[in-house]
Amino acid sequence: MKSHLILSIVAKFLIPLVLLFAFYVQFHGDFGPGGGFQAGVIFAAAVILHLLVFGHAATEHFIPTAVLKIGAALGVLIYAGVGVASLLAGGRYLDYDVLADNAVAGQHLGILLVEAGVGITVAAVMILLAYSFQQRGHDA
Amino acid sequence: MSPQLLMLSCLCLPLVGGGMLLLAHRRPRLRELILVLTAALSFTSALALLLQFREGNLLRLDLLTLLPGLDLMFEIEPLGALFAVLASGLWLPTSLYAIGYLRARKEEHQTRFHFWFCVAISATMGIAMAGNLLTLFVFYEVLTLSTYPLVTHIGNRGAVRGGRVYLGVLLATSIGLLLPAMLWTLHVAGTLQFTAGGILEGKLAPALAGLLLLMFVLGVGKAAVMPMHRWLPAAMVAPTPVSALLHAVAVVKAGVFTITKVVVYIFGTGFLGTVPAQRYLVYLAGFTVIAASVVALRQDNIKRLLAYSTISQLSYIVMATLALAPLALTGAGLHMVAHAFGKITLFFAAGAIYVAAHRTQVSELDGMGRRMPWTMAAFAIGALTMIGVPPSAGFVSKWFIIAGAYQADLYFVLAVIVLSTALNAFYMLPILHRAFFRAPEGRAHGEAPWPMRVALVSTAAASVLMFFFHAPILALTRSLTGAAP
């Protein structure tokens, strides 16, 4: 991959910001607009930017495909697991009230976990998609 | 044995025998022993059943209920008992004959052949004992399907083509006409039970009843009423034992048996008398009698000639049934038996000629009477039965049909019988003339193998015996008309 100086400098500058914004959206989700879907996509956008600028090898070096695959599955597991946990705690499926001592804290905890799961899965899947499309282009 | 067990054994013995055949397929002698034993046992149980019936036992067997009001059940009535005994009784000589035939021809897949034969017999028993229309229909279809492998047994292109016509016509008529007719009956009458005196009386307008009757008569393709007769000549691609038992006895008789059952137990002769269209069906059957005889006149292939003769003779029975006179109905029952004996003898003879002399055409039969005296003598008796000349069984049955035609004042039927008798003589007697009064041609050959000869002589003898001793059969068919005043 040819190096584009301006692109790589701008990218290096932007990527941390985008990542930070992703985390903001992720954890602010239970108070305001935001949540796992959006945060996951924003996170993925940062990684995809890295992929486009620095190439597949560089990106895969710090986010390997195997990790992404596990991440994609793990997110779903967290989501469904929270539901099952609330079952085990004596409530209904996805009834967050029972997850902590009082209902409000329970709702907080529950939504946080669920959104985390969603975020991980969405980010992982988006990055995986980008990886596989990128790969195809080079082989063909 | 209890009567129910007897009925079950009539139905299952051939199946069990067929299954054992399959197991014994590596040992031909054992296989054939099983076949003959099965046939004998089936005949015995059918006979025992007939005796039970004559003692006046109520013979009824509920097998299973598919849906409320829709069950598979069996009930013996005179005609059914007669049919069961006839089919299983003729199976015994046929199985002997088939063993000889298949061995002499060195056919492949003999076990498969015998197995499907057993299934077909079992289905015939089911038809004979059926207690309602649904049961009859089920076994009717099983019979069609189980005879397909027999018809296409040779497996060449011609056999497959013939098989396709066979299956196509029989299934198309049964699903396209018989099944709707059955559904209509169920819808109108609320039941499909065979009941003395019929179940449709007062429930259907006469004009519609005529249509329903037409659907039944044409829907039972096995009765080969024109224009649904095409399958029978097509089925002649089958090996001769199949043509003999199935296409002279089991399959075609199942057809006329079904029509008779429908006329007597579904419509009821009393009700049918008020249906105007019934007359036209008599004409249709009469037309078939004459037309098929005319076609038979022009055939040179022996089996095709016999097939058209069968079409003609079947319509005798249909016509006699539809004449609705008690005597004619008795004649119909008698003719079922008489024609069975005669036609199976003729087919046996044709097969024997084919095996011994490799001849299939009428024009090749010159002098055959001297080469194969037993075979041709039997053929002559069969031919006489077809024409209706004493001392053969055909005379008795035709006598009753004629008497019935007088009784019903149906001079059309009378004319048809006279004309067709003349036509029968026209196509049968020249064969006998060729065989006995012309000099033989070609290389010399002897008779067919002994199992075949035993079979054809015994059926020919039965045909003659029936002329002299027909009282038991007459009693049975009389009681049929007793059910229908």
């Binding site: 779903v76 597991l77 099952v84 | 829709l70």
Partner: protein
């Protein structure tokens, strides 16, 4: 735990799917998926029994009560459909072990089973949920999984088939989405019960009528109702064997269930059939489906193609019974829904066995099958007889009911139509059977499919016979489903 079974039914395969995708070997994924499918069947069966003993079960997700939160609602109808889906899954998964090993690259097998589990999740979810938007979500989960699974097919035409299905399926789902969006705008609710209660007030608006039409067309695509069936034949034909055994028996059935639910329970017969006269449209389409698809099936050169077109025709049968909107018609429809799943599952499984041993399923591959694979061929014959509707098989019972329903409604031409279509079924099934048994073949080697495939196959075949002889259970189930539908909107 017992009260949570309705949700566990859906969550179990959903939880298992990601685990499956993480497993290193296809074999392990298969074992897990099989175990899950059996557990799901057990749960579904226990739920069905409970519904029959105690009546409708309602389960509120997250503890939010019905009209606000998402509600899972099981009654005599969908508990039955769930058991059907679960049972077919429990049969197909053991069956799939060998055929997947044979047809799919080793490293892609865990993904395959994960998608299959997701498909099961989606289908079970559609059936269980009482919320129309939730239906959309599960519909898309199952559809996406299906597109992916079809693309696993070895033939490159599988890709094209998957793509076509994706385009049409997405259009269908989108139309459905618009429809329920309009309904939501009108009534302010997405809960089925609530929707049914509020719909009559606004039924006269054009918006409501548009919404209903959109929903019906969207579902029509999903259930492959003629003429929206174009995606189906190739999708079934080129999918991996396990998938083409699973889909016809479940996916279209679930879509049909959904249509029944909408027409009878949400819109109400009086509105959908009485005022909009949808029944006449459905009747005409069903009739066209039966005839045209049967004709097409007769011309196919590939057995899976024949079976696929026959599936389109059978959808026609099912819709026909429903469109009559009489108790007996609905019973017939539900019976056929159930029975057809049994027979098509068995037929496609038999073709899976052929695929494994012969590698193709065109008519030439069938030659002499009766000798090469006697058990497979015999299974095909029995299931084929059931498809034709021969007495003593399950197919006969449902067709019999259908004919009775048509007679009762006074629709004579329909009776003829059903019989003609059965005759055509006979022709296309017989073509295969005649080749299998009466056509000579050079290779007379005997190479029967492995037991792991034969046992599930014969289980379904025996079910075909069982439900053809002892009809008490199936008819009682269908009737209880019918009563739910005939009761109409609450």
């Amino acid at each position: 735990m017992r009260e949570h079974l309705p949700i566990l039914l859906v969550v179990l395969p959903m939880l298992a799917a990601p685990i499956c995708s993480m497993l290193p070997r296809g074999r392990q994924a298969w074992l897990l998926a099989t175990a899950v499918s059996w557990a799901v069947l057990a749960i579904a069966a226990s739920l069905l029994i409970r519904v029959h003993a105690e009546g409708t079960i309602s389960y509120a997700l997250g503890g939010w009560p019905a009209p606000i939160g998402i509600e899972y609602r099981l009654d005599g109808l969908n508990a039955l459909v769930q058991v059907l889906v679960a049972a077919i899954a429990a049969c197909v998964l053991p069956f799939s072990g060998r055929s997947v090993q044979d047809e799919i690259d080793a490293d892609r097998q865990p993904g395959f089973f994960a998608l299959l589990l997701l498909l099961i999740t989606g289908l079970l979810g559609i059936v269980a949920t009482g919320d129309v938007f939730n239906v959309f979500v599960f519909l898309e989960i199952s559809s996406l999984a299906t597109y992916g699974l079809i693309a696993f097919g070895r033939d490159r035409r599988a890709l094209l088939a998957a793509y076509r299905y994706l385009v049409l399926g997405s259009i269908g789902a989108t139309l459905y989405l618009i429809g329920i969006g309009l309904l939501y705008a009108l009534t302010g609710t997405l809960n089925m019960q609530d929707l049914a209660a509020r719909l009559p007030a606004v039924a006269d608006t054009r918006t409501a009528q548009t919404a209903i039409t959109l929903v019906m067309v969207g579902l029509g695509i999903k259930m492959a109702l003629f003429p929206l069936h174009l995606w189906l034949p190739n999708a079934y034909r080129f999918a991996p064997s396990a998938i083409s055994a699973f889909l016809p028996a479940t996916a279209t059935k679930v879509a049909i269930y959904l249509m029944l639910r909408f027409v009878f329970d949400i819109f109400g017969v009086g509105f959908a059939f009485g005022r909009l006269e949808l029944n006449e449209v459905l009747l005409a389409l069903a009739a066209a489906a039966m005839l045209s698809a049967s004709l097409a099936a007769m011309q196919q050169r590939d057995v899976k193609g024949i079976l696929a077109y026959s599936s389109v025709a059978q959808v026609g049968y099912i819709v026909l019974g429903a469109a009559l909107a009489t108790p007996i018609g609905l019973t017939a429809s539900l019976l056929h829904l159930f029975n057809h799943a049994l027979m098509k599952g068995a037929l496609f499984m038999a073709m899976g066995c052929v695929m494994l041993r012969v590698g193709r399923t065109d008519l030439d591959a069938i030659r002499g099958l009766g000798r090469r694979m006697p058990w497979t061929a015999a299974a095909f014959v029995v299931a084929g007889l059931s498809l034709i509707g021969v007495p003593l098989t399950a197919g006969f019972i449902s067709k019999w009911y259908l004919v009775l329903a048509a007679l009762e409604a006074g629709w004579w031409p329909l009776v003829i139509l059903i019989l003609v279509a059965s005759l055509m079924a006979l022709i296309y099934v017989w073509r295969v059977v005649a080749l299998a048994y009466f056509a000579p073949n050079e290779s007379q080697r005997r190479e029967e499919a492995p037991l792991s495939m034969l046992v599930p196959l014969w289980l379904l075949v025996l079910a075909n016979i069982w439900f053809g002889i002892d009809t008490r259970l199936s008819v009682a189930m269908a009737e209880s489903g019918m009563r739910v539908l005939m009761a109409g909107p609450p």
